[in-house]
């Protein structure tokens, strides 16, 4: 069957009345449709990779797609890089099981984007070449700053990758019935093919396609759900209240302590500004104006996604039923696939499962490219080679680092099998907000910022956030099974980020760096006017 045929079938099938739970599900075993859609997506993306490979010769093409990505394309790619399977399956599941709290959770994931635009978007594009460390090290001593920035960068990328890979194995097992290790290997191999051969050009297109498919799939789900309630959300809410009580539409236990809420908000907001795989995408557009516009597009796409996804979750809770959703997966992650099957049959659940798979591939590919560049560009080229490496050496180092990172991703995914990795995403955002963001911002705006100020800011930010999370309830109690946490706060960003700013400020003031101050004029010219930008 062709793709259009499948879509036609699924549009027609919406006419069938939605049966109340219990229902039958094909989840957990590979169906013809899910495999078909999976192969279509993988084939198309691999063909693009083949095409991209021919255009990927230089380091600028490998890391930054030759800076030829348009603002709209980059907007889609940023959305594709950011919207993970966790936000797609997790937020709809949370709305299905906990009601309104899922919506609160969704808003938090968007607020970083405007901050990214206002604070670092354009300067990043004007000052850097391939990584955020380029910006931090712009007028500072290369070696110490690059090494420190690579530590912060690799740590954020690795923890995020572990969360993605463990989630991938679990989800693919749930949806396709494949063994966990096989799922890890498939993700690892396909993703490596994209990055290794097609570099940033292939990764960009994989992310664009994934964002398009995800937004299309969820929009269709949204319409199908509302069609059961005569396109009036009020009717849907009324049914939610009928089944689960008014409480489902009121805030529940997600936000209790204001300190916790503010700290989580800071981590989500400024963590985005320290995520290497997101920051890296800014180098793919031609100039600062395109960088700015791409954030506008990305914010619109991601915001739209977070506005419609709760409706899908609420729809699943009343049409599929909470009981059935939790019977398939306790965390509620299968709410979206189940409502897709109920309203669109096997074709639609196959499509949604394949889209979830593509989602994981696109995010992990972006992470791998960022992880590889932290080693190959920051450490190999700028520290070991002192900034003098030939194009050939640079591309070779990037590819070696990609292979190494890909193997590490699969290995860590298998190593962490069955572990509670819920804290990993929180850890990623806390470290990104504390280790990477303060040094990045201070290097852009503060004349007196010094090499050792940057190094200490990154080190203090990394270890404060890491230490505080290990001692917090999420790791100390949930993972290490201790009775009580040493630090009661779950989200350390408010303290660890402040500590990093303070460290950078004090160390810089203690020992001024004349060289760095002298180069600030050159940096300002480039930051604000884009003169000399790559």
């Amino acid at each position: 069957m062709t793709l259009t045929g499948a879509i036609q079938q699924l549009v027609l099938s919406q006419a069938a009345p939605a049966a109340a739970a219990p229902m039958q599900t094909s989840l957990g075993s590979p169906t013809f449709m899910s495999i078909l859609f999976f192969f279509i997506i993988v084939s198309v993306t691999l063909i693009i990779t083949y095409w991209a490979a021919k255009k990927t010769k230089t380091s600028s093409e490998f890391y930054a797609a030759g800076r030829s990505v348009s603002a709209l394309q980059n907007g889609f790619a940023l959305a594709g890089d950011y919207m993970s399977a966790a936000s797609f399956l997790g937020i709809s599941g949370m709305c299905a099981l906990k009601g309104y709290d899922g919506m609160i959770y969704a808003t938090g994931w968007l607020v970083g984007w405007p901050a990214l635009m206002f604070l670092v978007g354009e300067p990043l594009r004007n000052l850097g070449k391939f990584t955020f460390a380029d910006v931090v090290a712009f007028r500072l001593q290369q070696k110490p700053v690059r090494i420190a920035a690579a530590i912060g960068g690799v740590l954020t990328v690795l923890t995020y990758t572990i969360a993605q890979m463990v989630g991938a194995g679990t989800l693919i097992k749930l949806m396709f019935g494949l063994p966990y290790e096989v799922a890890e290997l498939i993700v690892g191999i396909v993703m490596l093919a994209y990055v290794l051969f097609g570099g940033m050009i292939a990764t960009t297109w994989v992310q664009i396609i994934k964002a398009g498919l995800l937004l299309f799939g969820v929009s269709l789900l949204f319409i199908l759900v509302l069609s059961n309630f005569s396109f009036n959300p009020g009717n849907l809410y009324a049914e939610v209240v009928k089944q689960y009580g008014q409480k489902a539409l009121e805030p529940g236990g997600l936000v209790t302590s204001p300190l916790e809420a503010v700290s989580l908000g800071l981590a989500l907001m400024f963590g985005l500004l320290g995520l290497p795989h997101i920051l890296m995408r800014f180098y793919t557009v031609p100039d600062a104006k395109a960088a700015r516009k791409s954030v506008f597009y990305a914010t619109g796409l991601i915001g739209y996604f977070y506005i419609i996804i709760p409706i899908v979750g609420f729809g699943a809770s009343v049409l599929v039923g909470r009981q059935f959703i939790t019977a398939i997966d306790k965390g509620g992650n299968m709410a979206s696939p189940l409502i897709a099957e109920l309203l669109g049959g096997k074709a639609f659940i196959g499509f949604i499962a394949a889209v979830a798979f593509a989602t994981i591939l696109a995010v992990v590919a972006g992470l791998t490219l960022a992880g590889a560049s932290a080693y190959s560009h920051d450490i190999y080229v700028n520290v070991l080679k002192g900034g003098h490496a030939t194009e050939e050496e640079q591309v070779k180092a990037a590819k070696m680092a990609t292979i190494f990172f890909g193997i590490a991703a699969v290995g860590l995914g298998i190593l962490f099998k069955g572990q509670n990795v819920a804290y990993m995403v929180g850890l990623t955002f806390a470290v990104a907000a504390s280790a990477n963001f303060p040094a990045l911002l201070m290097s852009i705006v503060w004349k007196k910022f010094t090499t050792w100020g940057a190094v200490w800011s990154i080190i203090i930010g990394t270890f404060t956030s890491l230490g505080m999370i290990i001692l917090s309830p999420t790791v100390w109690v949930d993972v290490f099974k201790n009775a009580a946490p040493i630090i009661p706060l779950k989200n350390p960003a408010i303290f660890s980020m402040s500590a990093a700013f303070l460290a950078g400020w004090l160390v810089s003031l203690a020992k001024p760096e004349a060289d760095a101050q002298a180069k600030f004029e050159e940096e300002k010219l480039r930051t604000y006017l884009g003169v000399g930008a790559e």
Binding site: T107, V111, P114, L249, T299, E521
Partner: protein
């Protein structure tokens, strides 16, 4: 490249500024100041809308739980509004930067002594 050696000399270009002169010029300083005051104002509005929403949820549960329809609570449109506000702020910044910032950048760049 052949054209690097020869630079056409236009009348009136002799007033070109060095990097130092340009960075220290009132126009450049005004541009930088304006850029940060616009983005800081927008960031403050982002804080107000997002944290306002979160703190309402945390501290004024009864207020956000009031019904605005048959069953629909006020919390639902508030959540949607928090998302729309974030996007609207980025839209504002893009419009401002395209209309005011970029032309000023071009004007200042033209004043720079050719290097």
């Amino acid at each position: 490249m052949a054209n690097t050696a020869v630079r056409p000399i236009h009348k009136g270009e002799g007033t070109g500024k060095s990097v130092h002169e340009l960075i220290e010029s009132p126009d450049f300083k005004a541009l930088v100041k304006k850029r940060w005051s616009v983005s800081m104002t927008l960031l403050a509005l982002l804080f107000v809308s997002y944290y306002g929403f979160i703190l309402l949820i945390a501290e004024a549960k009864d207020f956000v739980s009031q019904k605005i329809g048959e069953v629909t609570t006020l919390a639902i449109p508030l959540g949607v509004a928090a998302i729309v506000a974030a996007w609207a702020l980025t839209a504002f910044y893009v419009v401002w930067a395209n209309k005011s910032y970029d032309p000023e950048v071009e004007r200042l760049k033209a004043q720079l002594l050719k290097r």
